[in-house]
Symmetry: C2
Subunit: 232 residues, 2 copies
């Protein structure tokens, strides 16, 4: 059986279709047929009570798309940049990381154990279309694990007296491991890590949430890669 | 009357007390007196049903502190870095911005109109102690507005064809204006802005939420300031 997930709302469904994704089914709530042109394939109109049972949103818009798990190809320009999400249990944090990874041009996002189901509706909402824009892999797939082990530099973002993240060279094949603010890295993450970096913090702030810490480092990697590309 | 706000949970109250803040009152739920030593001043034990009425958390820990609005002094090292929060209606986004501003060493966070009440319990939770660590000002206070108008470089983070945020010089007195991802800048924010910058985004990602965009730029400012300080 093909695995599929749900995308809710007019803007999110439109955006998914614009990336070229093909919906298995698009459901419209009766009375809101204007939300999607009739010629869109796989369009079905359903009664309001049935529609309400299909969503966990409190005030859903009248449109909902069922899409096969996207199979996004990694881009082939420049060195790889993988984001490994370790113990990211909060859907909002994981969705944020996925979106930042896509925006920062990451090669793929890889879920390590104890990370939330990336196709959970709350993650999909927070990802804002990132699921269709960046490869999303699972470390428990053998091919993914092998690929990650081939990356020689795997950097854990951590608290403590480590090199500062912006003094690290991100312009090479590299995997960034972002872990839970409260739980800390898993044994797997620690065994994978070849290096550690930290984000200096002022005012006795002790930590940042994983979504922010990961985004700050991903965009630093993107910055270094842009600057490198500009050099003669 | 002194204005006050509520801080919930053992860790958050401990953390606030550690910054030197003095609670007007600390309430402990009956049966959980072990959560706080008896010698802490202003400690009151209350019945569980009364305690439940004082919090909007579903499963509150049995401790809750009432603190006067902190009056944090801006630090006096290096050029100023103000964060202006424009139309940030989501408590999680605003709390995140406040925390990142404190961690990145900002001089103060200033609320512009249509930004959520910074002492809203959801903001306080997301801020994770930042309320006690960075000055928090309101633009509708005349003294604050005057101070911001004295800052000659006021930079709006925006979408579109603007200079890239990391090519901008953040090592001078500067105010960063972060606005709503969906609503865009208010008239006030546009009238304040002397410059605009943008964060380049890959994979046809159109925008980032205000918490992420603001954090990425704040930490770029902190990075430039660290590097500047290291130069002979």
């Amino acid at each position: 059986m093909e695995r599929a997930f749900v995308v809710e709302g007019v803007r999110a469904v439109d955006d998914a279709l614009e990336t070229g994704a093909i919906a298995s089914m698009i459901l419209i709530r009766e009375g809101e047929e204007h939300l999607l042109p009739e010629q869109v394939p796989s369009r079905r109109v359903v009664a309001p009570d049935i529609f309400a049972g299909l969503t966990d949103t409190q005030h859903p818009q009248g449109i909902l798309g069922v899409f096969p798990f996207p199979n996004v190809e990694p881009r082939r320009s420049g060195p790889d940049l993988y984001l490994l999400a370790d113990r990211i249990g909060d859907p909002g944090n994981f969705g944020t990381l996925l979106r930042s990874a896509a925006a920062a041009g990451a090669s793929a996002v890889v879920t390590l154990p104890e990370t939330v189901d990336p196709y959970n509706p709350k993650v999909v909402r927070a990802g804002m279309g990132a699921h269709f824009r960046v490869p999303l892999w699972d470390y428990t797939d053998l091919a993914t694990a092998e690929r990650i082990h081939e990356v020689q530099v795997r950097v854990l973002a951590d608290l403590g007296d480590h090199p500062v993240y912006d003094e690290f060279d991100w312009v090479r094949n590299v995997a960034l491991i972002v872990t839970s603010e409260t739980a800390g890295p898993s044994d797997l993450a620690m065994s994978l890590a070849t290096d550690r970096v930290t984000i200096p913090m002022d005012n006795a702030i002790e930590s940042l949430n994983a979504g922010i810490a990961g985004s700050v480092i991903l965009f630093e990697a993107a910055r270094q890669r842009r600057n490198q590309a500009k050099r003669p």
